[in-house]
Structure formats: structure tokens, C-alpha cells
Amino acid sequence: MTAVAAPASPELRIAPTVLNRAEHTIEIVSDAGEGAQKCGQIFGAVSAKMGNGVWTVEIIPAEIQPPPRTAEGASGNRVRFGTGPVTNGGDETNLVIAFNEQVLLGRHRLGALASDAIVLLENSWATSSNPDTRSAWDKTLAELSTKSYRIIEVPMEEQCLTIDENPRKGKNMFALGLLAYIYDRSLERIDEQIAYAFRKKSEEVYNRNVALMRLGVEWAAANLDFRIEVPTHPPTEALVVMNGNEALGMGALASGMELCAMYPITPATSVSHYLAEVFSKFGGILHQAEDEIAAVGVAIGASYSGKVAFTITSGPGFALKTEFIGLAVITETPLVIIDVQRGGPSTGLPTKVEQSDLLAALFAEPGDAPRVVIAPATIEECFHVVVTARQIAETFRTVVIILSDANLSTGVQPFPRPHLKKEWLAPELDLAPVKTGQRPYEWDARMGTSPRSIPGQPGGMFTVTGLSHDEGSKVAYGAGVHQHATTMRSRKLAVLQQTLLRPTINGDHDGDLLVVGWGSTKGAIEEAVERARAEGIRASSVHLTFLSPLQPGLKEIFSRFRKVMTVEINYSDQPGDPFITEENRRRGQLAMLLRAQTLCDVDCWTRVPGEPLRPGFIHQAIRDAALTLTGARP
């Protein structure tokens, strides 16, 4: 630890050393409610607007108001930004602003910080009137001294009190000012972003926040002996920057769907917060139902009577919806379900990322209930996937499940501004009479599809039923009818599969190791593969967007690699575990699926750390896998 006594007065200022970096990762951590997240969000948005690649990760404690000054209560934001595109949250943090030493300790103990991280730490606690606080400070700084962090004490509270009398308020904007100085961010853009972030508050709040931010800039200019330059490239195309849940919400608007029924559940709910503000302008209804079951039931009722509707949930809510999902499948009622996955089972890790709902999304219902499952891998895909999902649901009269996760939900990344198209929008309802003799399930054996009539269409009156039924929707228990109807519902997936593209291979088309991923891990996997390839390891990766049906060509692609291994954020037994044998080993969810589907010996490297997989860890897993292969070579 190097405690720096920062120069106190402007006369003593020396020109700061400028460190040039291609990328940097920062964190702002505080007790919950102190606004560190807002600081990080604004910094991330401004960096994106200035032309840095950006990926932000929210640091969220499980409780809304955990006890203050606790290692477990760290709340804030992590922003990785660079001169080139940034596709994931990266490895370790290079610079931290901490509002107290305990939340810093929490991040330290999680191994989140680089060993040479720069730490800007609120120092009012060191001189607290409470002896326990002072002793906690001393103990913590001793523990932190085991690493070579550069800790710079900052009198945040003392400074902020000159503007705002509440010591718990304002530090976040002061911290934003520190970052603005260190990374030379445009103050005008920051002002704009503050105005947007506090648009529902008064002019006075805006002015106070801007003043606090400027105070941070001034303090940093007077006291810090370094700046860090991460060069920006003003973007060459129009970009937008938002988080994954906002992108899902906007995608829903772009799809023309008009009804979303949901029940609050983390980390999915913020999609509905966004829609609650804007949906009615677009002719839509956001219905907060009495429970998760009602939410999907309302969506099915709406879909049945008109435009495809959707519901948003996370694992525990998804579990409750399964009976209705089966009903939508057998009645062939189009439906879009967004599952923003979190750690499970049960209540699990409500605010943390996991990819454990894959098999539930595919198979949760009793009976054969084929449906489409799509997993966006980037914030941009979160937008476009909803448009695609609505179209597939309508075209195939089927259920489409979108698997996002807690990493995408709060992750912020710039992406090309979508060029909106009218064709994306659900068409207006056609209530023309149904042609004479048309039956409710007139299955086209080549497609498995059938034309759908909706209430209001004369001549189309029929009763949909969750009972086994024939083409006329007549309840029919006969063996032949059930076999045929089940085949037709399954055929839709076979037909859709034939329209899908083979997955793109990242890297060479053959080699030693192929890493297979799905969902939010794409950026981290590709970065890890790139690092491995730079070391001469013959590794490539593919990332699957469609999980049901699976994209074509997988078996053939797998055959060109000596080893195929999935990387997933879900549980698998680790091969080195003394309890685990080849026979009893439980594998990652995608690995299980791929083994069943391709008969290839697909291995897996999976972890459930409750945080996004770091590219560095994946890189190590690739090295280890490659080493086993080389070692096995004669």
C-alpha cells in the first residue's frame, strides 16, 4: 500500500503524470442508496457517447437496504471501457472509488480488484467519533495492505458538505467529478447526462448535482498527481446506448406487441418499469397481474384474441407459468415469454447472473410441448430478439421463450441504432370472415402450421381446448389423433430449424478445441479464445442463438475439432472431484443438450459464481483443456 499525501494547495500542484491505456476498468462502490450506481451509469453513458467501447456491470447487494458499512452490502457499478469495442465486463478492476472501507473490503475479498489498483477512498471514517468505526478502518487498511493497491484518501464528505448538508447525498456526483477529471470526460456531456438522469427531479436538484460534480473535478485537479488517457474514437455510425432490459422493452415496442402482463421479479422487472412509462403512448398496456400465473394467463388471453402478447419473468416465476405454457403450446396460441435468468434453484441469487433455466425453458412442462427458445448474447440482440420472437410466434402459432440474464439486464453497451421497419410491427387485426369450411387447426403437413382465426371474425367460431383435439378443435382422445396433432406441433420446430443459419465460427474452422456458448457469455468467451489463439492455442468458438430448435450443422462443425467444450454459467460436477466419475458426472445444461442431440463427446467448463464469467478465467480453462489435449498426444 502506498498512502499518498496529496498536495493540499494549488501552488504545490505539479503537472500530473498521464498514463496511456487501451482500456481501463473502474468501479464505484458505496452502501446501498448512496447513488454509486447512478454515478457509474452516467460515466458509462458519457464514455460511450465520447467514443469508447463500454460494458457496465451493476454491483447489487441482495437486500434493498443492507446494513451500512458492510463488506456484503457493496452496491455500485463497474465500467469497463476501451479505445476499441468492449464486449464483456472483463477481469479485474483498475481503479476504484469507494465511499467507505468496508464496501472496498467486500470487493477486495471477492478478488475483484487488480493487485495494482488505484483506490480513491472516502477518509472521514478514519477520524470518526465512533471508536468502533476508527478501529474497523485501521483493521481494514491493514488487510488491504497485503496487496499493492495505491490508496488515495479523499475527503469526500468534507467536500460535499460545503454544498449539501446531507452527508449521504452528493458523494456520487463528487465521485463522478473525480472520474471526469481523471479520464478527461466532456463536462458538457456529463451535464446533459445528469439532466437526463434526474429528469423527474427539480431544477434545483440538477443544479446541486452539477455543482457537486464540478467540485469533484476541482478537487481532483488540485490534488491528484495522475490522469489516465483511454483514447476515444468518435463513432462513425449512429449508436444508441442502453442496458439489456431497456433494449428488451424497446424491442417490444418495435415488434408492435400491445400487451405485456407481468408480476414483479428481479432481475426482470426493470423491463416493465421502462414500459410502464412509455407503453401507453404506443397503444400498449402493461398489466401488473396478481401473480405469475395470472400474468401468463392474461398474455395468453390477449394473444388468443388478437396480437401476440408477452410476459416477462425470471426463474421462480417461470416455474409457476409452466402449466399455462403447456396450454399455449397445445392450443397453438402464439406467446412470447422473456425469462431474465438469475441464480437458482428457488429464490437462489435474485440479483446475480446464471444460465440455469435452459433445460427448464426447453422441457419444463409435462407432456410433449415443443417451443422455440432464443438467447440474445448482446444488448443489441436484446432489442432485435423481441421482434424476431414475435414474428416466429405468429408465423408458427407457437410459444417463443427469450432467455436473457442478469448480466445483460443491467449491462450497458453502445450498439448501432436500429433502423426501424414497419414490417417489424404486428399487423393490424384482420377481422374478415373466415373462409367457409376452414377448420381451427387445419395443419399443413409440410409446415405443421395452421391459419389462426380470432374472435370477431365471422365464421371462425370455435372453442380452443387444452384437451387433446382434432383439426376441428373437437376433443378427441383417439390414439391416431393425438399422434398426428403432436407430430404437427413438433413439425413446426423442424421446419423452423431448416430456415436457420449455421452458427458462425469465431476463429479457424478446425483445430484442437471448440468452445461452445450461449447467451451473455459471448463477449467473454470470444475474448478468451482470442487470447488463447495469440498464445498459439488452436481454439475457436461458436455461440448459439437458437437453443430450440438448435441451429443446423453442429455435428459437422464439432467433428472438425479434437475437443468440444461448452462454457456456461450453470452447474456441472468438476472432473477432478473425488466423488465424480465419468458415469455420475452431471454436466452443464447446454453440454447435456448437445451430447443428446449430436452424440458428440461434449465436455463442459461451467461455474456459478453469481457474477459474469471473466475472460481471464475462461482463458485459463481453454489453456487447461488444450494442455490435456497436447499431453494426450502420442
Binding site: 444508441v240 446506448v241 395470472a294 392474461v298 388471453g301 399455462f324 426501424l420 374472435p455 372453442t463
Partner: protein, 315 residues
């Protein structure tokens, strides 16, 4: 009018619907099942109100009575056990132009779907909800339902139902924003019809409990009341269920003003006699469907609006 093919030639006003226009498959309930009388009363209502079959949706759950939509030639949704109300809510929120009827049994509404029941009353969305209450699980063969009388022997409680039955009327009348509660009986067709008509005409969520016998498992349940109309007390009022043809048979009458909620609750609570009639009606209650009517937006307007949204997030 039965020929769909000539529909385009006729204006809506000119179309006239007869009973046959509403009849679906032949009902397969047991002979003597109360569901038959409800179906007859509903068909009579559809004809009397001249509801367009394509604009009418019957939503049901699972149970004997939930086969109801199959026996009509309107649109129908025979869904999940206990979940008719959420589906109906979705239909009516997205398509307020449709007439929506919900058919539930006592297990459906008062047991597995009880959460939806309470909230549907509070939403007060314009629809008719019928509780076909035969106090037993019939389709699964005689298990205790929430409305099974205490002591009544079933296959799951063979020594007699342990608890006093749930009272659907007090539950409904006790729920915030309740707007229409009536009770009728399948063996009094004139009252059943008049009640359903009043329910249909009510602007809001109309809850109608229909007392029923199950010929297989609860055949004796209302036997005395069926034989002796004097055991039944009709709630009468100019604003209530009006069925003059019953005047001579049902002489046991009590005047009850359906705008009086306290009196409605007292009458519903008193289990010493069977009361048929309108317990409560209030059309000034908040209606969720009216509060949630979004504007019509064209596709060009949507795209322009979304572009404005994207501007907020533009780099």
C-alpha cells in the same frame, strides 16, 4: 340467420340470430345435471340480446361445467383449472369490443383459482362470471370442494367434510370494488334467466353464483328446496332481479335494495335460508378496463415515437 356465406351481404343491424346460431356440440353432461339448465338460460340470453356469435367469447376452466364453451357456437376458450379469469382478463383488456362470459365450477373459482377470483372482483372488468356451484368435484369423482357442506361424505373426506363451507357470496361482497353479486338456482329457470340478463346488462364485473345439484354425487342436496319453494327466500326490488312469473310460486320474499352493501352482507352471511336474487349492484365502481384504454396508434406514429425514444439513448 345461419348461413355464414351471406354475411358480407348483410349489415350487422340486419342480421338476426336464432337459437340455432348459438348451438354448438351436443352437451355431454349427465342427465339431470344443472349445467344443462344454465346452458339453456345462456342460449336464451344470447338470442334475447342478439349477441353476435363472433363477438362473444366464453372462457372456462376445468371441470364438468367448464365444457360449457364447446356446447356453444361462439368463440370459446377451455383453458386450465382455476385460470379462466386471467384468460378472460387478457381477452377483455386487449379486445374491449368483445362480450366476455366466464364459466367456472366451485373448485375452479373458490379453490385453485381463488387468487384470481378475488382480484377479478377488484379489477371490475366488464364481463359476466358464472360460478356453477354444485358443492362437489364431479369430474374427478366426488372429492370435497370448498363449498361442500360440513359433514358431507366424499372420497377424500369419507367421514364427512371437516370444515364449514366457504361462502362465495360473503367472500365476493367483502372484496374491495365489488360491483355486482347475485345468487340464483338451476332449478328455477325463470330466475336463472332473469339473473343472467341483469348480470349481462351490468356495466362491470358481474358475479353470479348458481346453486346446482350434481345428479351423481349431491343429488339430495337441494331436494327439500326444490320440492318446497317456501324454503327459498327471493330478494325482490325494482332494481333487483325481476321475474314476475315467480310471484305465485315463491311467496317467501324479502325486499332488499341492491345498493345497500351492509344489508347485502348480512343477508349473505345468514345461512339459515337459501336466498336468491340480486345482493349488490354498483355501477359507479372503478373499472380497470376503462382505466386501461390506450389510444389507437398507427404504425407510422409508432415508428416516429420509437425514434424519439431512441433519441434519448443516442450516442
Amino acid at each position: 340467420m345461419t348461413q355464414c356465406a351471406i354475411l358480407p351481404m348483410l349489415d350487422d343491424d340486419e342480421r338476426e340470430f336464432a337459437l340455432g346460431d348459438y348451438e354448438g356440440a351436443v352437451a355431454r353432461w349427465c342427465p339431470g345435471c344443472g349445467d344443462h339448465s344454465v346452458l339453456t338460460a345462456v342460449e336464451k340470453l344470447l338470442v334475447a340480446e342478439q349477441l353476435r356469435p363472433e363477438q362473444t367469447v366464453f372462457v372456462s376452466g376445468i371441470g364438468c361445467s367448464s365444457r360449457f364453451p364447446h356446447y356453444l357456437k361462439t368463440y370459446g376458450f377451455h383453458g386450465l383449472h382455476g385460470r379462466a379469469l386471467p384468460v378472460a382478463t387478457g381477452v377483455k383488456l386487449h379486445r374491449p369490443d368483445l362480450d366476455v362470459f366466464v364459466v367456472m365450477g366451485d373448485g375452479d373459482c373458490c379453490s385453485i383459482g381463488a387468487a384470481h377470483w378475488i382480484h377479478a372482483i377488484r379489477y371490475n372488468i366488464h364481463m359476466v362470471a358464472m360460478l356453477l356451484d354444485n358443492s362437489i368435484y364431479g369430474l374427478t369423482k366426488k372429492q370435497t370442494s370448498p363449498t361442500t357442506p360440513q359433514g358431507f361424505k366424499t372420497n377424500t373426506q369419507p367421514f364427512g367434510s371437516f370444515l364449514p363451507p366457504l361462502n362465495p357470496l360473503t367472500t365476493t361482497l367483502g372484496t374491495t370494488n365489488v360491483s355486482f353479486v347475485a345468487q340464483t338456482a338451476e332449478w328455477v329457470p325463470a330466475h336463472l334467466y332473469a339473473t343472467l340478463r341483469a348480470a349481462y346488462r351490468h356495466q362491470g364485473f358481474s358475479f353470479v353464483r348458481i346453486l346446482q345439484r350434481c345428479p351423481m354425487y349431491t343429488q339430495g342436496m337441494y331436494e327439500a328446496a326444490v320440492r318446497d319453494p317456501g324454503m327459498i327466500e327471493l330478494l325482490v326490488h325494482d332494481d333487483g332481479v325481476v321475474a314476475p312469473e315467480l310471484d305465485k310460486i315463491y311467496r317467501n320474499r324479502a325486499t332488499h335494495d341492491p345498493s345497500d352493501l351492509d344489508s347485502a352482507r348480512r343477508l349473505a352471511e345468514d345461512s339459515t335460508r337459501i336466498r336468491l336474487g340480486l345482493f349488490y349492484r354498483n355501477e359507479s365502481r372503478a373499472r380497470y378496463d376503462l382505466l386501461r384504454k390506450p389510444p389507437k396508434v398507427t404504425s407510422s406514429e409508432r415508428i416516429a415515437l420509437l425514434n424519439q425514444e431512441l433519441d434519448h439513448y443516442a450516442v
